[in-house]
């Protein structure tokens, strides 16, 4: 048998804070444990709420938020719109492939700091003018990260730890402008990058189905939501539809977010619009294009936001402004006849 005792020699391990970026959240695992002990619901009680109420009561100016999904895929858009209507300010954001979500929050001047992995663009659709301006002017302060490093920061928090050693970002300017610390593996001496656990004040996730207690099921890719759900201090769920608890119990292997992680759950049909919701509806590329186009002229954009966000009472009214059920049905057909 090979002898691995060499890994147990006493050694001095060094830590070098190479990243100049700020920590926007507290990575302390003890504090997180206390919070979860005192504030998370153990009792399985009804948590059905409304978007207006949760945004008012659970999202405070200055909070740091993590948004589920992936930019314009399974994004909790109804909550973001309501944040604009209620004028939320000075929020921090985990910019983990933040595309349309970043664009919405910038449009409402809601955020002033961001751990940025991917921002200001909408992938193949192009760049957002207002989002670029917000960053180029310094209105939104950035701490650089990558999709994997943010995912693993959530994972560290989900594990109840204060950091995670990773092998990305090393040697680059991304590392220099992050909040990471270079370290050595206590066993092998290998150089790793320690990234701080990320416990957002609020996590917001859109799912396919949930019961009123907050037991949630997601179809298709999970992205990082299994970890975001566990890392977040307060967790808001929007769901395409409510299902009875017995439906959840029929296939518990599908339950990725159990009730004890969840603080509020709201039924929002088509709640991921104008993004893609797997097996439900495809993204509305025309509407996303209209956003990007409207941004180019300040007056037109003001009018655009008035029409779709500020001038409507809620998400259902927003859906009316984009063509209502007729348009949504087209997107449903597009998603389910995906060969076209």
């Amino acid at each position: 048998m090979e002898n691995f005792s060499k890994y147990k020699e006493e050694r001095t391990v060094t830590y070098k804070p190479t990243g100049t970026g700020k920590l926007y959240t507290d990575p302390d695992a003890e504090k997180a444990r206390e919070y979860f002990r005192d504030k998370k619901p153990r009792k399985m009680v009804e948590k059905a709420s409304t978007v207006e109420k949760v945004v008012k009561e659970m999202i405070h100016d200055g909070d740091y938020i993590g948004i589920g999904g992936f930019g314009a895929n399974r994004t909790p858009v109804s909550v973001l719109h309501e944040m604009l209507r209620q004028g939320k300010k000075n929020l921090g954001l985990a910019g983990h492939t933040a595309t349309h979500d970043f664009q919405i929050l910038v449009a409402g001047n809601c955020i002033n700091r961001c751990d940025s992995a991917y921002i200001v663009g909408l992938e193949a659709r192009g760049l957002s003018k207002i989002a670029r301006k917000a960053v180029e002017s310094g209105a939104v302060e950035l701490c650089e990260h990558t999709n994997a490093s943010l995912t693993w920061r959530y994972k560290a928090a989900a594990m109840g730890l204060s950091f995670m050693p990773v092998r990305c970002m090393l040697g680059t300017d991304t590392e220099k402008h992050s909040n990471a610390v270079e370290m050595e593996c206590p066993f092998t001496g290998a150089k790793y990058l320690a990234v701080p656990a990320l416990y957002p004040d609020v996590g917001i996730i859109h799912v396919h189905r949930a019961d009123v207690y907050g037991n949630c099921q997601i179809d298709g890719i999970m992205i990082a939501d299994q970890d975001l759900a566990r890392a977040a201090k307060r967790l808001i769920i929007t769901t395409e539809r409510f299902v009875p608890n017995e439906y959840i119990r029929r296939d518990p292997s599908k339950t990725v977010i159990p009730y004890y992680l969840v603080d509020a759950v709201i039924e929002v049909p088509f709640g991921g619009y104008p993004g893609n919701m797997a097996y439900e509806y495809f993204s509305d590329e025309e509407h996303l294009k209209a956003w990007l186009k409207a941004e180019k002229d300040p007056d037109e954009f003001k009018e655009f936001l008035q029409r779709h966000i500020y001038g409507v009472k809620n998400f259902n009214e927003y859906l009316d402004t984009i063509g209502g059920m007729s348009r949504l049905q087209e997107l449903r057909i597009q998603e389910n006849l995906i060969e076209k």
Binding site: F70, G71, N73, G95, T97, T99, S116, A117, Y118, I119, V120, G121, E123, A124, R125, L127, R132, V135, E136, S137, G138, E141, L142, E144, H145, T146, N147, A148, S149, T151, K155, R167, C168, L170, G171, T172, D173, T174, H177, A190, K191, Y192, L193, D219, G220, I221, M222, I223, A224, D225, Q226, D227, N276, A278, Y279, F282, S283, E335, I338, E339
Partner: protein, 256 residues
Amino acid sequence: MEYNDMELMICLASRYLEDNSIVVVGTGAPCAAAMLAQKMNSPRLMIMFEAGGIGPMLPSMPISVGDSRTFYRGLAASSMPEVMETCQRGLVDYTFLGGAQIDQYGNINSTMIGDDHEKPKVRFPGSGGANDLASLCWKTMMITPQDPQRFTEKIDFITSPGYLTGPGAREKAGLPKDSGPYKVITNLCVIGFDEETKRMKVESTHPGIEKQKIIDNTGFELLWADDLTISEPPSPEELKCLREEVDPYKYIIGRA
């Protein structure tokens, strides 16, 4: 057969993707190259997307690396940590990156232009998963137009690591050993990396492209392979497959 630059780059890139290997791709030309490879010579090439899609039977080009096409009739609809950790464990052979600037060591900038991070002249999306893939996959490739602004001596921001400052620098930084840039496929030539110096070395020039044109379109000194060849142009079969099956709506190949 006539072909445009984009078609040429996609065909050349696709030939490097061996059968029974794993590639993580984004949207656009890399995805087209992987789809073409699957349909031509590498039917068992495993395609992954960073948001969690694994082994889809891609019905068409995804518009996002997280949209439902990325796991359409797939083998698994997993998660971002699943894909990134598979890269970190050393199971992913190839990846493709893009960027605004690239230097002679294959370091890539997709973050910003300017010298002040707090007030950049131009801000781009940033790393996304690019830094992770460049750090953790075995071989990194690029499909990119070549001009002196893009191929530059000093890039404004190293978003994703190439060979950093040269031989041994990746390992010294803590990046996994034996990983790094592999090929850069441009509209003018195919570039590899010199074993000794880790600098860009032109391996083949595209049909009809003079050496001087490549020099004029590069902001640093290139090395040249002793056995410099002419790139093998797309075959009629490759072009037919690319145009009719991979990208029938010309989303990608229409950009050239």
